[in-house]
Symmetry: C2
Subunit: 238 residues, 2 copies
Amino acid sequence: MSGHLEQIRLDSYKPLRELVCEHIREAIINGVFAPGERLMEIQMADEMGVSRTPVREAIRKLEMEGFVVMIPRRGTYVSNMSIRDINDVYEIRISLDTLAAGLAAERISDEELEELQRLLVKVGNAIEENDMAKVVEADIEFHDVLYKASRNERLRNIINNLREQITVIRGVSMRYPGRLKDTQEEHRRLVESIAARNVEKSQEAARIHLENAERTLMIAMSERKGGEELRNSLGAKK
Amino acid sequence: MSGHLEQIRLDSYKPLRELVCEHIREAIINGVFAPGERLMEIQMADEMGVSRTPVREAIRKLEMEGFVVMIPRRGTYVSNMSIRDINDVYEIRISLDTLAAGLAAERISDEELEELQRLLVKVGNAIEENDMAKVVEADIEFHDVLYKASRNERLRNIINNLREQITVIRGVSMRYPGRLKDTQEEHRRLVESIAARNVEKSQEAARIHLENAERTLMIAMSERKGGEELRNSLGAKK
DNA sequence: ATGTGGTATTTTGTATACAGTATTATTTTT
DNA sequence: AAAAATAATACTGTATACAAAATACCACAT
């Protein structure tokens, strides 16, 4: 019962279940709920000041998205990302990001291309300032423009969902020495290839970017594995 | 109010929402509900003999899966697959099926390989007998063994979801003259390549198979477009 | 000390009730 | 007669109540 969720305010037109869903997703991504932790409906509903109904509907969505696991008549638990899961996600993402980059090279508009270059600078600045939150934010924006430019909304949704699923762990690789600089260089090549409307080079750049990201993440995870393993196994049991 | 859903019977351990979800999904795939048709919660709940709660939760899931579209405070409508949608789905599937075939070539077990060859024969027999239902069933089994053999459950889920989304329309291309024979030959090459554990050839075979399937579907759809267009636009309005 | 059984509590699963909004029909006004 | 306003209706969104199942706890026996 560690996580304290903020109260929900209904300022928007969105249904409550959407707000609740985003709220819980954020909490999981930000580590407010530990992997393996049990999520209880009444408790969360009370904390957010809503009833169980929207909470239940939100949980169904999070289950589809892979953030939580439901065991019938038992309850809901925060998903526990294993090395295996990371591997599975990256296998798919290497494929889909490559596809998206190729499509973007064919279909991107001039305005989007400018936007992409602007965001490249933004990520760069954030790296200079060593402002991790800003790096993450700009990086998400950067990639999303790319996915939009692929002109395939399904593709965009699937990739963004996969990205979010590993967000919890991605911080680990971001803090790995030298990774950010490499990232920036890989992004630069990618934008360059897309700007040249070169499909093959864009695909190649995307593939390399993802493969490097995966490799770093795997290394980073195995290095801090000792302490992590203990915590996870405890978390899973409790 | 055209579609009549059967009553739900709770013989299984599964939660009601799952049964309801599968029920509605089947109805959409089998054309009981026309594309664009409005789905009303109370009505469906009554028809199936359950309350609104599990129906609502089922609809949320179907929304995530892409079978229905929800407009807040307006209602739920059966998704209307456009040429554009088909194109989007196949773009992704060409990528993912290629990936899956490559992984399967590396990871498939001898037992699965046997199973694959058995199913290849089963599909072949169904084609000989011109038994469409059996073809569809065997084809689904065949591909699912392949996806399982990729040893990536996420990948399997994503592909199967994409497959289901276009099931409504796939019948069209299956009935296209000569397509089934071609399919069988493409399947045969795919199994052959996987049996030889040849990653590149397997990927190539999968890509060709999907590209052909898409091409045929597009042709078949454009040919029967005249009557279809009218029905769709009516369905969307009503 | 340990294991088994039963009861109490907690939590999920489902049903229903109520409130608010969108749509449709009706009426009134120009 | 047409358009606008208003009332009626029907549906979704949310809350709550009730039932069934699972877990936790405690007593008792071995």
